[in-house]
């Protein structure tokens, strides 16, 4: 199995690379994890991962700056049905639009807008930074074997915006931060986490292993 982690100049992919390698070897799934900016390798990959840190518009610009990348991702997902995982801003890019600073078009793979999180409790800090539990809305292969709810495992978040879905059926899990914050979305072969699985220790490695096993 070949897993392509897309490198489009958005932050460091070193730890994502190593976390996928660790999850692949510990779970016995194995596979070849590559970090690449080559659309051909994305097109031919069995699984595709889109990370992303920083501002939505910058990430979109960076992705568009790699010739043929969006087309290759679209082909891998929508023609070949390859499993796809967006992480943090990589997940937000799946939405129709990002409303951070300016309005920026997303990939439109999961309906909705990326909007500022506004906790009802004004004492809560922004960014939402640190470890939080997941509230599972419905079953999904990516959460198989991962305890959720108040006493569940924790995921590492650091963000000020989140994906507000057009329809609730794409939301697999949320987290509580002065209101409900979107944590995990999925539709068909496309999934995305607002949190960082590559930084979420036990939960993160389990979710990555689930993604490698996932046969949507």
């Amino acid at each position: 199995m070949k897993v392509a982690i897309i490198d489009y100049g958005s932050g460091n992919l070193h730890s994502a690379h190593k976390a996928f390698e660790r999850a692949a070897s510990e779970s016995g799934i194995g596979g070849d994890i590559i970090v690449t900016s080559d659309p051909e390798l994305v097109r031919s990959a069995d699984r595709v991962v889109l990370p992303g840190v920083g501002a939505f518009a910058d990430c979109r610009r960076g992705l568009d700056a790699v010739p043929g990348m969006v087309a290759a991702m679209t082909e891998a997902v929508h023609e070949k049905g390859r499993p796809f995982l967006g992480i943090c801003v990589g997940m937000q890019l799946l939405a129709d639009r990002g409303l951070e600073h300016t309005t920026t078009p997303g990939l439109g793979w999961i309906g909705g807008d990326v909007v500022e999180i506004k906790p009802q409790d004004h004492a809560l800090k922004i960014p939402h930074m640190g470890w939080n539990t997941l509230d599972q809305g419905r079953d999904h292969a990516l959460l198989a074997g991962i305890p959720t709810g108040t006493d569940g495992w924790h995921a590492y978040f650091v963000h000020s915006f989140h994906l507000q879905p057009a329809t609730p059926d794409t939301v697999i899990a949320t987290t509580q931060y002065g209101g409900s914050v979107t944590a995990l979305v999925a539709k068909g072969t496309v999934a995305g986490t607002q949190f960082h699985p590559e930084k979420s220790q036990k939960l993160g490695l389990a979710l990555i292993a689930n993604f490698l096993r996932w046969r949507p």
């Binding site: 840190v53 960014p127 470890w131």
Partner: protein, 257 residues
Amino acid sequence: MLKVRVIPCLDVKDGRVVKGVQFVDLRDAGDPVESAIAYDAAGADELCFLDITASHENRGTLMDVVSRTAEACFMPLTVGGGVRTIEDIRNLLLAGADKVSIMTAAVNDRDFVRRAAEKFGTQCIVVAVDAKKVSEAGSPDRWEIFTHGGRKPTGIDAIQYAQEVAALGAGEILLTSMDRDGTKIGYDIALTRAIADAVTIPVIASGGVGSLDHMVEGIRDGHASAVLAASIFHFGEHTIREAKEKLRANGLPVRID
């Protein structure tokens, strides 16, 4: 619910830990990577490396340490010390740091915070605020920013400074009381609370931890989002787990997975 974070901090000099982890038998207690792995296993919520290497030529050893740590630990890593330029930040992030802490460079040029946040995103820019009390006994509390390990006064009001860097795009403040640092008598709670209540970004309390009760005070009374400590953990006086259990016993939410 978002949990309170417990963050051990390791001082690194020329690629070696200055006060190495002594709570477990490591092959090499001076290797920051081994210490990082030990803290990862112990349940630390994040890890902080403070580089105190004097010369800039030895920066390469730090990059190597950060890179090897990022390969072995799947938890957030903040690196600070000697960060002066956008290029310094880029190099640390590329080596595998998740957040970079800037101190003197931000004091000297506030706009550096804005440029760094615009370039790399608010989420990875931590501004280290080293503050000392300057008000006389009996008059209202006032703290100022000090650089050079607390030796050099700047005349800058700490609360105003914190608000300013937050507005410029800092994602977090690492607040150290230079009066308390190394004293083990507890965080400066009045300072911590004054800063935490003045900004909307998270504040990490640092400087002065001598007991687990101090950590509880830092969060409960100081309104910090996270507590940072060094020697209390390194020398095995307390484990990360004990710290979290103490926080939990005092009604504060912690992560024990």
